[in-house]
Symmetry: C2
Subunit: 250 residues, 2 copies
């Protein structure tokens, strides 16, 4: 197995931020500067076109560390952040932009779903290797409860097959703003851990029905749909259950 | 105007419970035993077939008084609780039971909606007269912010036209579990105050789409849809934003 290699470390306001690599995958681990061993770990997926350390993602991570004393891990998805674009990814992105420009919704949907599937196929084992390596750290170990705190769109397209595949993860936050497709619905039907699902009510590209169908598919006895007005760029979340992961992991 | 006439008063664990009548309408006012004047007031509607003082309703009211220091008012809907059934109500209830027994969904829908409309037509002015009378109390007055904390089904069928009609109410909790009908959708389109909408995801009688359509109709810039699995008898709410009214009234 591939170990976690730390490449930098900074501390600010009681939060330690350590960059790392696991193989060729770059990541970041935010931890409380002081606290008990085996605190819960949140795997934080990022949205499409974004990366592991956007200001919003870092703010969410720092808040999770500060409020709950949890660790937060994020990695760049393939072709995102510090990672090179493969020739295939470049081609897909071009197709994607063209479909958007021409307003060809069916083509846009097909290209988006194909791209998400290809990214998830690579990202799920990357997340699992990252989690293996994180569990090697003595302050975390295999006793620490694990949750997934995904963003909407890509963070969910990767997170759903990850949570379905990895029984170490015992609670998950997902979101809408992306197409529902057969492979994702099938994975969702295998998920039984508590789920909080955030839906932008007025997505500009994706029909609301796709998000509702995805939420409906989770086999979880405890699941919550939380929707607010806005599309996935303009949305402002209100009154989200911010104790969700703490209740299930803490 | 009709004043509020108190008929009993008990105090328990810092909560004063006072029964009252306003005209022929019986109600109850829960208040903090001590606290500043002009604390916010929550109008708490009850569900169909229930009444102002069910154990669940009282528990919610006591929690609201204890946690936030608010007043809570509840009244019996026409033909509910201590109130007599009119001949018309009895007839409608018989039709209602028959439609349920025969499984005639269209008839069940038509009778339910007709009954809800008739109840709301009477209950809205009763709520407004009750609020007028409550505002006469010196410890409340016209300065206290007012919210509506309705139950699902009937509490919402009455609450939506009430909140649409009464500009004193500045935030509202509604719920699904009932049919969406034109008069209700039209009233919802006039509501602009913050709304928290609770939807049982698996109602046994009412299509999920009715709840989604109703949520969609609110003109409020800030509105939240919160759905959990279960029908409107078996539902267990998880992670509901219990600071919603406190944020908007406090």
């Amino acid at each position: 197995m591939t170990s976690l290699r730390f490449t930098s470390r900074t501390t600010s306001d009681g939060v330690v931020e350590r960059d790392f690599t696991v193989g060729e995958v770059p990541g970041v681990l935010w931890s409380p500067a002081a606290g008990p061993d085996h605190a819960p770990v949140v795997l934080m997926g990022h949205g499409g076109g974004l990366h592991k350390k956007t200001p919003a993602q870092r703010a969410r991570a720092v808040d999770t560390v500060t409020r709950w004393g949890f660790h937060v891990v994020a990695i760049d998805a393939p072709g995102h952040g510090e990672r090179p674009l493969s020739a295939e990814d470049e081609q897909v992105r071009d197709e994607f932009k063209q479909a958007m420009k021409t307003g060809d919704i069916e083509r846009f949907r097909k290209v988006s779903v194909g791209y998400a599937l290809s990214l998830a196929e690579r990202a799920v084992p990357e997340w699992q290797r990252t989690l293996d390596a994180v569990q090697e750290l003595p302050e975390i170990g295999t006793e620490a409860p694990i949750g997934y705190g995904g963003g909407i769109s890509l963070g969910t397209a990767i997170g759903i097959p990850l949570v379905a595949a990895d029984s170490r993860i015992s609670a998950a936050i997902f979101g809408g703003g992306f197409f529902a497709y057969e492979e994702e619905l099938a994975a969702a039907r295998h998920i039984t851990v508590p789920v909080l699902f955030l839906l932008p009510w007025d997505d500009q590209y994706v029909d609301r029905q796709d998000g509702l169908e995805l939420f409906d598919a989770f086999a979880s006895k405890e699941k919550t749909l939380h929707a607010n007005p806005g599309d996935h760029r303009t949305i402002r979340w209100h009154g989200v259950d911010d104790g969700f992961l703490a209740r299930h992991l803490g």
